[in-house]
Symmetry: C2
């Protein structure tokens, strides 16, 4: 059995794990995201001590918040780049970990990592073109097309698509510092909280907040259907823990498409088309382990 290390580098917490090529996690640790130095040091200590117990690591994968540089040919590969998160702009994550562990290190966005985890062991097994969207503190998405993760110019930034915003129905301005009322500005957890003056998880399923939320999410999802033609759409993150959102989102997606995409997956079987992640809140760290496999060329 081959053993890999995975680091899910989130804006509020780090999750580090050691697991097998089957996605079985053998050791795991979580700690809050403080300074880059402290987080990198804790990650290295965990991985070094875990490999004493579990055997040598073949590689490490890092699935990180961004924006970041995932291009192995770039001089800034492995860096978080222009994040507004204090102290974290221009942080080299890959370099110190590769130096300390001496193995190949894979690096991608948290959401591309989660997509890779879902592809290997979750709700996207057997597909080759799909999206994974997380709706929580922010909104972001990862995507796989024809079996490989989407990077292109940088990496997808799906949370910032503009969505139609009727200010009579919803006078809330939105909270995105760049765009105001983009999808993240209108539909992220903090947007819900600020609009309704209450935490999202305190709002009852029949609260009008949710119908509005589902409408915005559908408006953000439909362009993905038109542009990427995904075989499935996975919606994760804290906001989607409200399971009652799924049928609402599916209904609005169908309403907006209005029969244009003649595919049975949408017309007849949308309950299996828009789904929660199969790995739940472990998609991130398992995705990091899958990125490690990818980095050592065993995927």
């Amino acid at each position: 059995m081959t053993i890999y290390g995975g680091i899910e580098a989130g804006g509020t917490k780090f999750v580090c794990a050691v697991g097998s090529e089957l996605g079985e996690i053998q050791r795991e640790v979580r700690f809050p995201t403080t300074s880059p130095d402290a987080c990198i040091r804790s990650s290295i200590e965990f991985l070094q001590s875990a490999q004493k117990e579990c055997g040598p690591l073949a590689g490490v994968g890092i699935a990180s918040f961004g924006p970041l540089d995932p291009n192995p040919a770039s001089p800034m590969f492995g860096y978080i780049t222009t994040t507004p998160k204090k102290g974290w702009a221009h942080t080299d994550l890959v370099g110190p970990i590769r130096n300390a562990l001496g193995v190949p290190v894979g690096f991608d966005t948290d959401v591309n990592g989660a997509a890779m985890g879902e592809y290997r062991w979750g709700a996207a097994r057997g597909l080759d073109t799909f999206v994974y969207i997380t709706i929580g503190t922010g909104i972001g998405g990862g995507a796989m097309v024809n079996g490989s993760l989407v990077h292109g110019l940088l990496h997808p930034e799906m949370g910032h698509v503009l969505v139609s915003h009727d200010r009579v129905e919803d006078p809330f301005d939105g909270i995105c510092p760049y765009h105001g009322d983009c999808l993240e500005g209108l539909a992220s957890g903090p947007a819900i909280e600020l609009r309704w003056k209450d935490k999202a998880e305190h709002l009852a399923p029949e609260h009008p907040a949710w119908e509005l939320e589902a409408k915005y999410l559908a408006r953000g999802i439909v362009p993905q259907i038109y542009i990427l033609s995904p075989q499935r759409i996975l919606l994760g993150g804290g906001v989607m823990e409200q399971q009652h959102l799924f049928p609402k989102v599916r209904r609005h997606v169908r309403d907006i498409l209005n029969g244009y995409i003649q595919a049975a997956a949408i017309l007849d079987d949308i309950d299996q088309y828009i789904l929660p992640p199969g790995l739940g809140n472990r998609a991130g760290v398992l995705g990091a382990i899958a990125l490690a496999q990818l980095a050592v060329g065993s995927l």
Copy 2:
């Protein structure tokens, strides 16, 4: 030198050609799109007579209007599916051509074909992730990600993304039979004509039509940047023959992004990021020849 056949099957005309693996066209014919039987027969006659003069074809590629089924594993592979175009729904294009010519036949959307042509010989050489959008009678797009064309569930239908529509600024309802004011409904050639009661090509560059058009196109392009992260965006089709549209579209794209995507290609060099196709109006038929190469496994 290997010789391929290419068929650009458009809603108003067919273009058939025979050309080399270098994209050099040796014979070409154009005829109006009448009935499926007549168009297929004319295509076969042209290809059979051209190969008598130019040598045997290694394969044929068809880049067609859609919606269509481009999945070789599907029983409906090679068919135009649910088009509203009279007489053309459920038309098998690949079958009769493969039977008559006895060679592999590649099949994809006209816009994926054009993207492949631009990748081989045009303005997308050296890239692996980009989009090709045509703005004419309709609006459609093809895309390549990591060097392969995007299909997924069906194929991209980029023209139908919803764009924000201020009815005070623009009371025009839009003309899409499915969505009213989606991008195609607001910004296609026929939409321009109906809104301004004049043909697009008769409107002077300083006419307010063009600023509005550029704004809608930018609203349709920006989601593609967020979702696909393309390294370049090619805009073709009859409407984009108005060259003055390019700087207007670039300006609106930058305005909407508002500095969020920290990539030099957009921040410093957008004149090389949003471009006309390198192959001009031959992208379609050259793309069909590239699809033939793909079908015989020589790409």
